[in-house]
């Protein structure tokens, strides 16, 4: 589904990604871990098409298409979803109105009829149940005055409504207490299927207790330096990232 080959990217002239290789198949959950500044969030942003990041080399194919050629909105319409680390506030725009605009633009791109108000509301209701989000939150202005947990829940709710093929969760666990974390993880697990895939970007192993990955990759200095199964995450939790750093510099010498 997603194939990343030798991806290099920089921001304002500073190289952040230095040759990422990653293969993701439908139904898989991949965790990307790594110390602060290793390039985790950059990878998420580059895949979503954020403008500040310049891709200097490499290729990314998504469902057979050259992802890097597509505009951010077309990537979204093709089924790439990024759950933001810091969801943006849009004053005066209700979540409902925002999502309806989004859903209908995505449908238009796919050659589907727009959803009328009734159908859209029933879709909302169904997804609200799935991710356990309060209706009151959705009639408020998008993310405005939301707590950290509410913002993250709302991201997962949007994901549920938009039904992406590839979801990228960028540090979704940051700023969440354990209860909120469980709710969010439960939502993500509900949405998993054999046809879609998830990339979980996280610093801590904690989230992976609830969203269990098939593969774990460790990012360091803009490269994937180690890949393994979920046991790798536990090992990291126990030994810290220094162990990886030493190992990497050891092999380099």
């Amino acid at each position: 589904m997603l194939s990343v080959k030798n991806l290099h990217a920089s921001v304002e002239g500073t190289a952040i990604l230095n040759g990422i290789n990653l293969e993701i198949k439908p139904g898989e959950v991949h965790a990307i871990m790594g110390p602060n500044g290793s390039g985790k969030s950059t990878l998420a942003s580059v895949l979503a098409g954020r403008e500040e990041y310049e891709v200097t080399a490499g290729e990314v194919t998504f469902k057979g298409k050259d992802l890097l050629e597509l505009s951010p909105e077309d990537r979204a319409r093709e089924g790439v979803f990024l759950a933001f680390q810091y969801p943006v506030e849009i004053p005066g725009v209700s979540s409902t109105n925002f999502l309806r605009t989004a859903v209908n633009q995505v449908r238009e791109y796919r050659g589907q009829e727009p959803l009328d108000a009734v159908k859209f509301l029933s879709l909302m209701k169904e997804k609200m149940k799935l991710v356990e989000i309060d209706q009151k939150l959705l009639s408020r202005a998008l993310n405005e005055g939301f707590s950290g947990g509410e913002k993250k829940k709302n991201e997962i709710f949007q994901m549920a409504v938009l039904e992406p093929t590839l979801s990228i969760l960028d540090e979704t666990d940051s700023g969440l207490d354990i209860d909120a974390l469980k709710v969010v993880a439960h939502g993500v697990n509900q949405l998993k299927s054999k046809d879609n895939a998830t990339i979980v970007v996280t610093h801590y192993q904690r989230l992976l207790d609830y969203i269990v990955p098939d593969y774990v990759h460790v990012l360091f200095n803009g490269q994937i330096v180690k890949s393994g199964t979920k046991e790798l995450a536990l090992e990291l939790e126990e030994k810290g990232y220094d162990w990886i750093k030493d190992e990497v510099s050891g092999t380099a010498v």
């Binding site: 979503a48 098409g49 954020r50 403008e51 505009s71 951010p72 909105e73 990537r75 979204a76 319409r77 979803f81 990024l82 933001f84 969801p87 943006v88 849009i90 004053p91 005066g92 725009v93 109105n97 925002f98 999502l99 605009t101 989004a102 859903v103 633009q105 995505v106 791109y109 202005a141 949007q158 938009l162």
Partner: protein
């Protein structure tokens, strides 16, 4: 150029939709302004002597006045002798009702999306259509007259209801009030007149649609709304003009009189030609609008959506004379390209327990300048007066300006006056967030801007709110890139 700026650029470079003009035979006053011009206009309109005298007095006063220079706008000096002060489409005979109006003129309004055909119109709105200097027709007159509501052109009111016109004309905005009001008083040609009798709740929205067609002609209309005790009316005005290279002057006056327990809601969607992308042409919109809450418990509410005009100078105001009277001002002013707007309100609290509320939302894009100028005045007698003002500015791109000039003048220590102000920018982050959900940049900006202006748009009658939303998006189209 960053993506953000590109989006903004594209979004603001959309062309003006109503820029066409039509050729028709016109009755025109000679170019230039002197007492003879005024006599010519007055005789053309078969006016009584008292009105001519009133005009001449205003003119003589105007001649001694100086054009104001305090607004935060700049434009080349207007040569008042090079303008034409009256232009009216020739109609074969005076139409008695809307069915007799020249179909060619009705077509102009059809093309603007305003059907004057009563059968085709939504039941809820009566329209007075003003083309250049005259009213071409008013709809639903009969329906309204059964309730005693008078809704007609100003000229007609002078003929049919001289006692009302004489009593209220200049009572809220005196002929000598300011430079442009004095000019208007001297040369005003037509406009709308509306009278709601005691205890009547006007069953439909009343609206005037102003269209400037002729070149080199100023439009000077006058609107007078009188709401008697315990009456209610909601009034809407809309305006467009052809796209021309020269600037055109529009200097209107609106007066509202609200008696005890009366409520008047006045909404404007102003979309005069704003000039082209390079700032060429466009309307100078120098307007005086004022209402008086003359009786106790009266309420006047102004809502404006200002998207057009090259230069705007406009401060819809409320004089809160009656005790417990309420004044409101809700405004969205959008400027793009080289547009300049200096707009706001004045709330003058005279009566006891008077309340006012100001919500102003400025949006600047392109190379435009957008100023809010507002005055809250609490007079000595105004015990327990309250005011709340909120002035927000939204900037799009790096080449525009937003300015706020609040004046607060308090002469009674029991007053409570609050002022809040914010300035924000449409961020790349917000646009990217929308993009990531599949929304393209243009719709993202429309969504963000409408969200920002929501509090004001909510004040508009439903169907106009939808129009205004579209207009906002259209005005800013091309300003994102």
């Amino acid at each position: 150029m960053s993506k953000d700026n590109q989006i903004l650029e594209e979004f603001t470079s959309k062309e003006y939709e109503h820029g066409w003009s039509v050729n028709y035979e016109a009755d025109e006053a000679p170019v230039g302004l002197n007492e003879d011009t005024i006599r010519w206009i007055s005789s053309k309109k078969e006016e009584p002597q008292w009105l001519l005298d009133w005009r001449l007095k205003a003119f003589r006063h105007w001649e001694k006045m100086k054009e104001p220079t305090w607004p935060n706008v700049s434009y080349p000096k207007i040569d008042y002798q090079k303008l034409r002060y009256y232009s009216a489409p020739k109609q074969k005979s005076k139409p008695k009702n809307i069915d007799e109006v020249d179909p060619e003129l009705l077509k102009i309004y059809e093309r603007l999306g305003i059907s004057l055909n009563e059968q085709k119109r939504l039941q809820g709105i009566a329209v007075d259509a003003v083309l250049d200097s005259v009213s071409v027709g008013t709809t639903f007159k009969d329906t309204l007259s059964k309730l005693g509501v008078i809704f007609c052109s100003f000229s007609e009111a002078v003929k049919e209801h001289p006692e009302l016109v004489k009593k209220y004309l200049g009572s809220v905005v005196p002929a000598t009030d300011n430079y442009f009001a004095a000019l208007n008083s001297a040369v005003f040609s037509d406009g709308s007149f509306c009278y709601i009798p005691k205890g009547v709740r006007c069953p439909m929205e009343l609206s005037t649609y102003f269209r400037i067609n002729a070149a080199n002609t100023g439009q000077f209309e006058r609107t007078l709304i009188i709401a008697e005790d315990k009456s209610y009316v909601s009034y809407l005005e809309g305006c467009t003009a052809p796209q021309r290279d020269e600037n055109q002057l529009h200097a209107a006056v609106v007066e509202i009189y609200a008696a005890e327990n009366a409520e008047v809601k006045y909404s404007t969607v102003q979309n005069w030609f704003p000039g082209d992308k390079n700032g060429k042409g466009g309307i100078y919109n120098f307007v005086t609008k004022r209402g008086i809450c003359a009786g106790d418990h009266a309420k006047i509410s102004w809502t404006q959506v200002e998207t057009g005009s090259a230069v705007t100078w406009k401060y819809p105001s409320c004089i809160l004379k009656g005790d417990h009277s309420i004044g409101e001002f809700y405004s969205v002013a959008v400027t793009n390209n080289y547009q300049q707007a200096d707009t706001g309100t004045k709330m003058i609290h005279i009566g006891k327990n008077t309340k006012s509320r100001i919500v102003s939302k400025g949006i600047s894009a392109g190379k435009s300048q957008n100023s809010y100028r507002g005055q809250v005045q609490i007079m000595k007698r105004a015990v327990n007066a309250r005011n709340f003002s909120q002035c927000d500015s939204l900037l799009m791109g790096n080449n525009c300006g937003a300015h706020t000039f609040p004046y607060i003048d308090i002469h009674n220590s029991t007053a409570q006056v609050e002022h809040e102000a914010t300035t924000s920018k449409i961020g790349e982050d917000q646009i990217f967030y929308c993009n990531q959900r599949g929304i393209d940049s243009e719709d993202a900006v429309a969504l963000i801007v409408n969200g920002y202006a929501k509090e004001v748009l909510n004040q508009l009658p439903m169907e106009f709110a939808v129009e205004a939303q579209k207009l906002l998006a259209l005005t800013l189209e091309g300003s994102v890139g």
